[in-house]
Structures are given as C-alpha cells and as structure tokens.
Symmetry: C2
Subunit: 274 residues, 2 copies
C-alpha cells in the first residue's frame, strides 16, 4: 500500500485493508516525504489562557525527552509560536513541498507568520480559506519522521477547530483553562465539542492558577480559586496540571527563548502525556 494515493476511484485493488477502512472523505493525508506518529491538539475554547505557552512547553519537554517533535500553528490570525521560539526565518520550498522552520533545539515549526513578509501584517481571510491553509500545513509540509506533533488551535469552536478535528488524525487533546468561571464555561464548550467528535481529552492544564509576590512571598490568586479538579472530575479526566503566573514566562516568550527555560512547569504532565 505504499503507492496509495487515496484516490479509490482510480485504484483497482479490491481489498486494501486497514488503509481503506480508515479512509475518511474529510481526512487530509500527509505527503510521501512525511510521517507523524502522534498528533496532539492543544485547545481552549477561550483565547488568551496560555494555549500557545502550553503548546510550546509540551513541545520543549517532548524534545528534551528525545522525541522528534513538531508544532503545527493552526492559529492563523493570531500565530504566536514562532515568536516564543525566536524563529525569525521564513519557510522555503523543498521540491514540491514546504520545509518547516526548525528551532534551535530541533523542533520543526509551521506557522503562517513564517510565510508573511512582516509578522505584524494581518491576515484578513474568511473561515474556509483559513481552514484550507491549516489543511495545507498538514499535507504540503515536509514533516520528517516526527514522533509527536502538537497542534496549537485557535480559540473557539469554529472552522479551524472543526477542520483539524475532521482532517488530521488527532489522537487526543490537551485542554487549557484558567481559574475564572467565565473561562470554565467556554472551556466546557471545547470539551463538549471533543466529545461530540469522539476525540479523547488526555489532560487539562490550568494556567494562571496563582502567583507569588516577589516582595513578601505571599501566594496570590488574582483570577480566583483553582477549578481544575472540579472540571476534571466532571469530565472524568485524570491528568491535570496547574501553572503559576510567572513574569519569567512572559519574558521568556517575549524574548523567544522558551527552549532555554530551566524548570519546565509541565515536565511531569508532559511525561505522563507521552
């Protein structure tokens, strides 16, 4: 089945086994130079809870643990990944496909900002156009023997989320939330969408759970008490993590040095995930 082009109409083979069984009209397929063992989506429903930070930290940890790691930045209108990794290059063609940019630590990254002349230029496109670009990131990029790929999803349950869930073989999701009730409500929308589409939720990360005052050491909870255990229990999720608000994180991301982070707050979470 190595020559399968997934065009069943032009194929004479009657029983092609698993490949046909798993064939799905919505599914997008990798090109012949690519392989990705496991795809994990990072979703939130609500924007700004730190989805890209979580994606980056998980990828950094996977890479540190010897996995060949990739990030597909599906947040087309608000792409954050290249900046966190300090990638300022641009993607280039490789044969008929596109070569992703590679971070200092060896993580392959595909993001729309790597194809724009100016990173602050807006992308003013309708949803189907945006969704088709995400699909192309999957099909037309050379993903060279990746052990794991993290997909940084845009906020909300719209086009791109739907397209990724339908087109990519997503093994499961990491859901990112924050202690605010309001955020919890919107994160639940994402959890329910995952359930509707039969995609398992591997774990929940609560970001901005607390912070420590550098002056007096007091633990502050500016966004309220943690709610991650309640949410996890409600949906039967075992794997959870809490992350503090840490000015170092913001600084590390702003400086593009996420890979040089000394203590990864998601180290244990990532180990359990992988």
């Amino acid at each position: 089945m190595t020559d399968c082009d997934h065009d069943c109409e032009s194929c004479g083979i009657e029983d092609c086994g698993d490949e046909a069984k798993n064939f799905n009209i919505f599914r997008a397929y990798l090109n012949k130079e690519s392989s990705v063992k496991k795809v994990i989506g990072v979703v939130s429903g609500k924007g700004g809870v730190g989805k890209s930070l979580v994606t980056s930290l998980l990828a950094v940890e996977a890479s540190r643990r010897g996995k060949k790691t990739a990030i597909l930045d599906a947040d087309i209108t608000g792409p954050s990944i290249p900046k966190a990794f300090g990638i300022t290059g641009r993607v280039v063609p490789q044969g008929e496909y596109i070569k992703p940019c590679t971070s200092e630590g060896g993580i392959d990254v595909m993001s729309l900002n790597l194809a724009l002349d100016n990173e602050s230029d807006p992308v003013i496109w309708r949803g189907p156009m945006i969704a088709s670009v995400v699909k192309q990131f999957w099909t037309d990029t050379v993903w060279d023997r990746e052990d794991v790929m993290f997909v940084d999803m845009p906020p909300g349950t719209g086009d791109v989320t739907l397209t990724v869930f339908q087109s990519l073989p997503v093994a499961g999701l990491v859901v990112v939330t924050s202690p605010q009730d309001l955020v919890g409500m919107i994160v639940e929308k994402a959890m329910k969408m995952a359930n509707l589409m039969d995609i398992p939720v591997f774990g929940i990360v609560e970001n901005m759970s607390y912070m420590r005052c550098p002056g007096c050491g007091e633990i502050l909870r500016p966004f309220g008490e943690s709610k991650v255990e309640g949410l996890a229990k409600k949906y039967g999720i075992k794997l959870t993590a809490q992350m503090p608000i840490d000015p170092e994180f913001a600084k590390t991301v702003d400086e593009g040095k996420i890979e040089s982070i000394a203590e990864n707050p998601l180290s244990d979470f990532a180990a359990a995930l992988l």
Copy 2:
C-alpha cells in the same frame, strides 16, 4: 426617503440623495423598529486580553452617564457578555423581530448564549454561518433608540471581524491589549486591519498592566512593563488607559455583577470616548 427599502432596482426615484450615496452592497440595515446613533467596536486581535471586560465597563459607564446603551456580542463561539451582566434569561420574539435581553441597569444585550438552551453548549459552525448570525443580530433585533452600541468582537481578523467592519456602520474602535510583546504583535494586526478598512481607532486600553500585592502593597508587573504609550505613539492614538489585574474584576464578572462595580477603571476613558 422613509420608505427606502434599499432595493435600488425597484425604486423609481432618480436622485435619492445621501441615502443612496451612502448605500453599500455589504452594508446590513436595521429594521424599521430600530435606531442606533453610534456603533463602537471593541477589538483585540489576541484573545483573552479582557476585551469583554472592557466592553462591559464601557457600556456600564455609558449607561451611568445617561446614554441608552446596547451591547452586540459578536463573539459567537466564546460569548462572555451575558455572564458578566448576570443575564440568565432568553431572547424572545417581538413581532417579526427579536427582543434583546435587558440588564438590571437597562443595557440591551444580544448574544448567542441568550439563544442557547445551555450556556456551555458549543456552537460548531463554519465562519460564514457565524458571520451571518452576527449580521442578523444587527438587522433582526429590536434596538430601541440606542444612543450607543458596543460590539464585542471575537479575537482575530477573520470572518466576523470582516463582516462587522463591512456590514455595520462602525464609527470607530477601541483596541484592547496587554503588556506582553507577543500580544502587542497580534494587536498590531488588528490596528492594521482597521487602517486597511478605513475605520478610525478611538483609543487603546492596556489591561493587566500591573497589580498590587494585597499582602505588602508592592506593585507587580507579571506580564512585563507597560507598552501602551509606545503603541499609541506609533499609530497616532491620543486616548489610552491602563487597567490593573484586580481579583475583584474577575469576581464581579464571575458573579454577573459588573453593573455594581464601585470604581469603574475606564470612567475617564469612556467619558472621553463618548
């Protein structure tokens, strides 16, 4: 021109004056029971910077200053406005149109969550569908002699933002940002989109600029130094405001009591805006 149905083909009048001159094929028109004097969009590009909080605080202030105020919640997949105002009712038909819900303080609100059976149900729709619902919120809701309407836009520069900019008579924008570089980059995308579409930016609100430790009183800047003045200067914007991280805000929103906020941090900003 009171009977103008904006269908120029069926109209015999040769020179209909201003109305025809301002006619625009993308423009959506209010129904005959509605009037809105001024529409202000609240945008950010990046999610989670507090756009809905800013929208709510501006509306509360406008209402306190005697303006008949409305909010159109255009964040269809992540609607936050009803929760902030503690509105748990559902919208109901009024003749051939829809009656918005009204807050305790008298602010008219239209949001998709006011039409769902369960506020945490996800809306899994493609972009054009979402955009058409936003347009209907404008055309099919009874907006009863509103002095000002704030439109809470979804993050990003996609379908809905484009639709609102094209279809509604947006007088200008309030841009919401936070001190992170990364956020600044994505907020610039929104500023450039506004420029491309000839919509003025009235002012910039930087949220999460700082917080005060309740233990020792120290001023903390967990997301880095303020960057609002630099951004304002770059784009020639005169009106700016900074908002602290305040656990009271999160609590007030979570409890649906935004209208009972004692000191509105955007009081002066709103006064200048209106």
